[in-house]
Each structure stands twice: as C-alpha cells, then as structure tokens.
C-alpha cells in the first residue's frame, strides 16, 4: 500500500464508513490521492502507523470511537498534528482537505471548520 504517492488513511474495522469516505473526498477535492487500509488501534496510533507507510509522510487514522488523527512521519512519537474526538462527517472532510493542502504546501488556516478542531496536548 505504500508504493503510491498520496495520503495513507488507516481505519479500524469498526470505523464509520461515512467518516472514511469523507476523508477521502477531502483529499480528492485537493487533488491528492488517498490510499486506504484497515488496521487495529486507536486514531493516534493508526495515524502514526499510516504516516510511516505514506510516501508523502502524512497519515490519517480513524478508530471505531469516531476519533480522527492526522500525523506527520517526522513527528515520530510526538502528538499528532491534528486530532478530533467524536468527529462529524464535516470534520472528516475538513481534515482530509487540510491533509491535502499540507501535501500541496498550501495554507490550511483558511478552512472554516478549524475552530471546531481540537488538538490533543
């Protein structure tokens, strides 16, 4: 799964299909391919694992509790770039867009939903 450029999205078996789809749509709107895979774990660990598999260094994890995390490989074991517990479809779409913009080197601050995000400390 790591031989295509793009954003790697790992989700747990119980993750919401709607969230997974919305993340993919966010990436697609930004013109960045997304690569999907299923693994066990919470959002943060899935995101970290996804970033290790990703050629763009960016990975997203979604767990069965509805949490989403965005991680950059170079952060290593540090906290993810973004994390949202109990995410809605709109959050998922916005995080997908943010990931796409990071890959493209474009500002992500213009996304209107940013006020809703919580970044884990």
């Amino acid at each position: 799964m790591n031989d295509r450029p793009g954003i790697t999205i790992l989700y747990s078996a119980g993750a919401s299909n709607g969230l997974v789809l919305a993340l993919g749509l966010g990436c697609e709107e930004e013109g960045v391919p997304a690569v999907f895979g299923v693994r066990d774990g919470d959002a943060s660990s899935l995101a970290r694992r996804a970033s290790e598999l990703s050629i763009s260094f960016l990975g997203i994890g979604i767990d069965s509790l509805g949490s989403i995390a965005l991680h950059d490989q170079r952060l290593g074991g540090l906290r993810p770039l973004l994390a949202k517990a109990d995410a809605s479809v709109d959050h998922a779409r916005a995080i997908g867009v943010a990931a796409g913009r990071i890959v493209r080197g474009r500002p992500v601050g213009v996304i209107r939903l940013e006020a809703l995000w919580t970044v884990t400390e």
């Binding site: 709107e29 913009r101 080197g105």
Partner: protein, 602 residues
C-alpha cells in the same frame, strides 16, 4: 546646573539629562525615550514629555524638581507631522464579477452561457449551472450529467461549497470549468449571460482578464469595453474567475476626482493635476521652490485630505486653519487596492495613486506657547533653543570619529531633517516632509494592509515563508529548520519573524513581493529625501562636494535602510554611516544630546 534636552518628535520623545558647568564638557547623567503623545509642536505632547523626563530623572537618581533647565527644539517651523492619504479615483464597473481564487477550482477551460440553477438545466441554450450549498456534490454532478446526456449544453458551473473538483470528477467528459467556494452565491442572478474560466494547474486565466477578450465574449462596443476594463484588471493573475453581465442601471456610479494642487512659491505659482503623478508634482515643486503654500482644489479627494489636516491641526493648536501654510510637500506614486463596485467576492483592484506628505508651518510661535506650558506644569524654566537640525548635528558630532565638515541626515517618522556643518562651524539646514510614517503608508497601501501595527512590523522586521512543517525559507533563500513542527495556522504562509514568534502576514503575500515593496517604499521616501536634502545643502548643489554623511533618528535603526542609503550615496563618493551618539546610543538621542550642547544662557 542640571539641564535636560527634550526632543519631541512625531513618534518618539527623547530626553538627555546632563550636569552642565560653564567651561566644562557636559557630564551626561541619563537618557529616556517614550512614545510621543499628540501632534508634534502642540501642548498635547506634554504628557509624553513629562513621562520621559521623569524616567530620565529616575535613572539619574534625582527628582525631576532638581532639573534646573529644560531645553526644547526651536521646532517652530514644523507644527505637525504629516498629512498623508492615497488619492485615487473610485473604480466603476457595470458587471458583476467573481475574481475568486479558490484553492481548488474544478475542470478547466472557458464557458459562456446564461446562469441557471443546477436543478433547472433545460433548453438548447448554453448554460452555467449555479450550485448552492444545500445541493450535495453528488446530486449536482448528477443533474449536470443528466442535462448533458439530454443535449443541454452545460458549459460551466459556479459552486458555493468547496466541491469544485469533486463535481468535476463526476460529470465525465468533456471537462467544464467549475469555480467553487463562492460564498455570496445567493447574489448571483439567474438568466444573465456569464463567463466562467478556470486555467490549468500552474497557469493563469487568459480571457476574462483581457478587456478585448471580454468584448469578444459579450459582444461589447468600445464604450462598454472601457466600462468593463476595471473588471478585467481585477481578475489579472488569478487561476479562476467568473464575470456576469448585469444591466447597467443596476450599478450606481460615483466618481471622486483626485483634484489639483496650486503650488505657491518664491518663483511663482503653478497648478498641477494629481493624476499627473509624483514626478510631475515634484517637477513643479522645483520650479516654484522654495515653497510658501499649497492650495488644494475644493471638493476633490486632495481637497478633503488637506481639509482633514487643517482641522486636526486647528483642534490641536486652537489656531485657525488659514493660519497654517504648507512649507514642504512630498509626493510619491503608489498602488492602492480599491474595492470594486459590483463584485461578489470583495474583489479589489490596484489603482495608481499619489500619496502626499505635507509639512505645515504657522506664523505664530507655537514653540513659545509649548515652552511656557511645560514650564508652568513642571515648575522648571524651559528654553526653546536651537533648531532641530542644528541640535541633531551637535548630537551627531558626539559620535566617535566625526568632525567638521559633516552632513547629518535625521531620518524621522514624519520628516527628514538634514544639516551641514562646514569647516568653520557654520550650520545650514533643511526640513523636508516625508519619513518613516510615509514608508508605512506606501507599504501598507501597496500590500493592502490597513492595520498600523502591521505596517510598522513589515517595515521593521524580516519575513519568511513556512515551506514545510519543519522549515522556513528566509528572504535571502536560506532554509532554516525548526526544532518543533510549526502551528498549522502558519503552514504554507508568509510569516513575520517577530521576536515573540512567527506571525502569519495578513493576505499571505509572497515573500518576494513584501521585500520588493518594502525596499521600494524606503527608497522612494528616504532615498529621494536624502537626494533632495544633499542637493540643497551641498556646496554648489552638488553632493560630490560632501565627504561624510551621518545618519541619526529612529529610522537609522532600520535593518536595511542605512546600507541602502550608503550604497545610493556612494555614487557621489560620499561616505555614509550610522551615528553612535556619545559612543553608546547609536543613532538615538542625537537631538536631545545636541540640545545640551547649546550655549548656556543663564
């Protein structure tokens, strides 16, 4: 006796306190600097002056009452700083335009047709689909696909949500231009002729930014083309755009004429139209020089600007507006961003304009009134002693390595003052309008940044680009790696390198654009004023006869200006450097220090 030199400038108030005994060199005890309150030369500056005096006295370990004498500038010529306002003409348009530059428009190409709701795509006329935010992208794509399958020529789409690529990816071939993130979509009229253009990735639109391209699309005559030209200009350099033709009577026109100035000088009187530009105004100023007054044309933009200046000065001094006259005028060309009438996405258009700095004088001796008031309030005798430029040169002469003859450029915020002391100790001086505040104005207007603090920051501090989560690229191209990942708010942005941390620059202009605009603003104010001053002061009007120029004043602390001026003046063989007043204060405190050196009159 203990003497305080008090220099009240446009931006800062500086104090030097010294023990002065006849026949001995002054023994400096302390100094202080604070922000000026009110308009220079008026009693509204006294609160700031008091703070600076108290600070300096505390540092000297004395009570303010121990000060025996305060000397202030004979600043009578300069009552107030600067009147500056970019003067331009209101832009008109009879079309609605969306010069929107969304991050990710969909498709590519140019489509011209009538606007219609995406749910109402019928007939055989070319249509532009309007998709409001309540329509999901799958549905929008389905409506367009079904209409096209039925033979309806849908040639473009305008979308409220950030769905342009998603819709474009789901309607099949041929691709049509889709402009998204149009928040004010409810103001897009149905049934009007519209053009939508999206350029391929990495390129800019070609047709909608060309007035004759628009004329071809909309079948316009010469008069209509000239009316739509501002819309075309507003769209230049974008990747996507929409223009919707609206009936002409739906847009109100309003024009404010820039107006003209009548320059009255020793050598006559000349009128000059503001639209002629800064170079033409400067040429006329030279012809009438020295300037005695400027009369603006009433009912125009320039008339309003001078009216505001006189009203502010009258309020601060209690004098009538007619008692002021303009002793120097500094014009500079610039681009200002003007809102476009009839736009849907707050488009702006860069208009050529002229900024003016005016130095105002009064016949009445305001400095005496100021001196008296300070004296009464602080119970300390106050002497108005020495012109600002003279004090500046005396202060600058405390710089190690300086001597006669010498030329001093005081780079202030409101004005640029210059003085030359010859080998006999004789001093000549000029006071010119235009300083750091003018640089802020030019920089802010050119970059479309209104906030005064941001203008000052962008003048004084460097910028960089956040290239990745872990690195920034400096102005000189040097890439620096960061210990921690940047905040996502800063990612991909141009940032100000503030001592307290990076800050995203409003509007996210490119680093190169900021650097070029900043240097041009500094050069067009201080570079031009340095040339003007040195030509006025140099023997025979030729700066080549000058040897040494010393820079003082707040703007001499600028990180790049001294080097820029040194390079510019090196063409005359002039050696230029920044002062180090009393060997420890850099270019600061020169005037306050110089005031201490005025001959003591007891």
């Amino acid at each position: 006796m203990i003497v305080a030199g008090l220099d009240i400038g446009n931006q800062t108030t500086e104090v030097a306190i010294a023990l002065v005994e006849p026949g001995q060199a002054p023994c400096f005890l302390a100094h202080a600097i604070t922000r000026t309150t009110g308009i220079k030369g008026t009693v509204s500056t006294i609160p700031g002056a008091r703070v600076a005096l108290i600070q300096a006295a505390e540092r000297a370990g004395i009570s303010i009452s121990r000060i025996d004498l305060i000397r202030i500038n004979e600043g009578a010529p300069v009552v107030a700083g600067v009147a500056m306002q970019a003067i331009t003409q209101t832009t008109l348009t009879d079309s609605t335009l969306i010069g929107h530059n969304p991050e990710s428009p969909g498709g590519a190409g140019l489509g011209v047709g009538r606007t219609a709701a995406v749910t109402e795509l019928h007939g055989d006329e070319s249509l532009i689909a309007i998709v409001d935010g309540s329509v999901p992208f799958e549905s929008a794509a389905m409506f367009i696909r079904i209409a096209r399958d039925a033979g309806v020529p849908v040639v473009g789409a305008i979308v409220q949500s950030n769905d342009g690529v998603l819709i474009s990816n789901r309607i099949g071939e041929p691709a049509i231009p889709v402009v998204d993130e149009v928040t004010a979509i409810d103001r897009v009229p149905f049934g009007q002729l519209a053009a939508v253009e999206v350029a391929p990735v990495g390129t800019m639109i070609q047709t909608l930014c060309n007035p004759y391209g628009l004329a071809t699309l909309f079948h316009l005559d010469a008069v209509q083309t000239s009316r739509i030209a501002p819309a075309a200009r507003a769209l230049t350099g974008l990747r996507s755009a929409v223009i919707i033709r609206t009936p002409e009577d739906q847009v109100e026109e309003r024009t404010i004429e820039p107006g003209s100035l009548t320059l009255i000088g020793k050598r006559g009187r000349r009128a000059v139209d503001i639209r002629a530009g800064a170079a033409a105004i400067a040429r006329e100023l030279t012809r009438v020089a020295p300037l005695h007054n400027v009369l603006p044309e009433a009912g125009t933009a320039v008339g309003a600007m001078f009216g505001t200046l006189r009203a502010d000065l009258s309020a601060a001094t209690g004098l009538q507006g007619s008692e002021f006259h303009v002793a120097d005028l500094f014009p500079s060309d610039l681009s200002v961003f003007q809102p476009v009438v009839g736009s849907l996405s707050n488009e702006v258009i860069a208009e050529r304009a002229v900024a003016l700095a005016a130095m105002v004088e009064t016949e009445s001796s305001l400095i005496d009134a100021l001196a008296n008031t300070i004296s009464v309030e602080l119970h300390i005798p106050v002497l108005a002693g020495g012109r600002e430029a003279d004090a500046g040169i005396r202060g600058a002469l405390t710089t190690p390595g300086t001597g006669f003859p010498l030329c001093v450029l005081d780079l202030g915020s409101g004005s640029t003052n210059a003085a030359r002391i010859d080998s006999h100790g004789e001093i000549a001086r000029v006071h010119l309008a235009g300083g750091g505040s003018m640089v802020n104005l030019l920089l802010g207007e050119e970059l479309g940044i209104d906030d005064p603090d941001w203008r000052e920051h962008l003048k004084r501090l460097r910028v960089a680009r956040v290239d990745s989560l872990f690195s920034i690229r400096h102005e000189d191209g040097f890439v620096a790696f960061l210990p921690d990942a940047v905040s996502l708010d800063l990612f991909g942005r141009t940032v100000l390198l503030h001592p307290e941390g990076m800050r995203a620059v409003p509007g996210n202009p490119a680093v190169d654009r900021i650097v070029e605009t900043r240097r041009r603003a500094k050069k067009s104010v201080f570079g031009v004023n340095a040339e003007r001053a040195l030509h006025m002061l140099a023997p025979g009007g030729n700066p080549r006869f000058l040897s040494f120029v010393v820079l003082i004043g707040g703007s001499a602390l600028d990180f790049e200006l001294p080097a820029m001026l040194a390079e510019q003046l090196s063409e005359y063989g002039v050696v230029t450097g920044t002062a180090n007043v009393r060997g420890e204060h850099g270019p600061r405190n020169a005037v306050a220090t110089g005031l201490i050196f005025e001959p003591v009159m007891l």
